[in-house]
Amino acid sequence: MRLAVSRAGWAALVLLVVVTLSFALVRSLPGGPFDEQRALDPVIRANLMAAYDLDAPLPAQYGRYVLGLLHGDFGPSLRYRDYSVGQILAESLPISALLGTLALVIALVAGLAAGALAAARRGSWLDTVVMGAATAGIALPNFVLAGVLVLLFSFHWRLFPVAGWGSPAQLVLPSLALGLPFAASIARLFRAGLLESFGEDWIRTARAKGRSPSGVLWGHAARVALLPVVSYTGPAAAGILSGSLVVERVFAISGMGSHFVDSAFNADYNLALGVVIVYTALVSALNLLADLAYGLLDPRIEAP
């Protein structure tokens, strides 16, 4: 319990640091959301800045922003004039969350299966092929993978739609493009962990007592080999969220990632900050979950 509380405190501190750092970074850079092609009349510009609260001294702006955050108010979008950031996030977060969850599920299922297969058939051609694919998977940018998937499955064999969001068929390719690179890492980690635990005494005991090889693998060796995979889930989730920046562009999905990229190009400070904050909160929560799961899985660690 104490561990959970201290972790939650740490997560809150991280969030505060992220807000402050991003705020300072974004507001200290030259240029602004109103520096469009057409130069604005100075009076109009001044009015706009005052309306969006951008003319107050920085500390005051920061204070107002944090106060707003505590009330759940992310401020108005500086680009989409009729929307608040909260509204845009509420629209796009479920989309990104679904995509990310699917990708994570694919990563875990495919990764664990591939790793187990390779470990069980160690040294065979299957092992070589699977591990070769895994090594390649971590070296390929996910937008290249997305492009190849579209080339094969949308253009060549017309199995899936090219882009968009809404029907179940449109979920497949983006989730694969996002999740497979992480499946590769998970496969490598799981296989290494399994091979290491195969040499241990308790495995030999289980086999001696008559358990089948697959029973030994999944019932005993996997519990230990899962530990590095669980530790990796945190960074994997973070990677999936940042990978979504590119995958959402390729498949024209209007999730948080594509909103973030657009806001970076439009200097829409509030939206950019909002996405960063939500992203950090999600990753911190997932890291916390992963830590708790790790503690549960490994009996040598005290329960939190």
Partner: protein, 327 residues
Amino acid sequence: MSERFLWHRLRRRRGTTAAVALLALVVLLAFAAPILPLPDPGSPAPTRAGRGPSPRWTVGTAEDRALAAQDRPLAGAVRDALFGQHELAGACGTDALGRDVLARLVWGGRVSLLVGLVATLVSVLIGVGWGLVAGYVGGRTDAVLMRVVDLLYAVPLLFLVILVVALLREHAARLAALGITREVVLYAVIGAVSWLTMARIVRGQVLSLREREFVAAARALGCGDVHIMLRHVLPHLTGIVCVYLTLTVPRVMLFEAFLSFLGLGVEAPGVSWGILASEGLEQLTVVSTSWWLIVFPGLALLLTLTALNALGDALRDALDPRGSRFA
């Protein structure tokens, strides 16, 4: 350990020799790009647009020769001496503007490898410096420095970097006047994202090195702390730094490809593998799929980064005192 022994240990892992050979080839090609008999990577040639892979050993056009000779007279002279007017055109096809894909791959490789190397060096400098100071000084300083690293680990640096680069693009002119070109920003920014793991690893290593006799001996002889850190402790870090350097370059190159896809990386008319891959993706339509525009840059990235990862893994296993049994 001696080089022969290290090489022997490296070869124990499957594929290491192939990885090293591939990397040597890639670096050689990138280095030798100006003297290779290839068409100019930047000049559009509408008559040759959109062709699939069809290698031809032809005579280059007059404009190509003039362009090539412009920037690099010495390389141009060497190339003329070796290959005359001939060039290998269309080996990997041409793109929508008629530019030769193989030439763009080779020249793009130069840029990608350069960005990878320089940005990695930046991250090594920051990471090693940070870890060295934290590990050697210890105590409160160590705690503070490592807390900062933990904090930065949790911060989504990627997003902040994208924000910074996107917002700085608007003011490229003003920055260029200060001597900060877009490439320099890229190196600094990419390097700044990747140093955290290096710092942690180095600090761990320094913590154990600090207790060794040679450090105590140096201190007894009256050496100052800075001298000990730089002259005695640092050389012992080369092994582990090499391993993580080799493993960081692929991450950095992937990040550069990522930034290029978003339009924030190397600027046109420059070419890098990331730009090539994103161009290949952009022209993917139902009507005409020029598969060679995405497959070849993808292969280039895939093979090079896989080779680097394989080499890094092999180095890590070779230098690991426990000796990994699981290749």
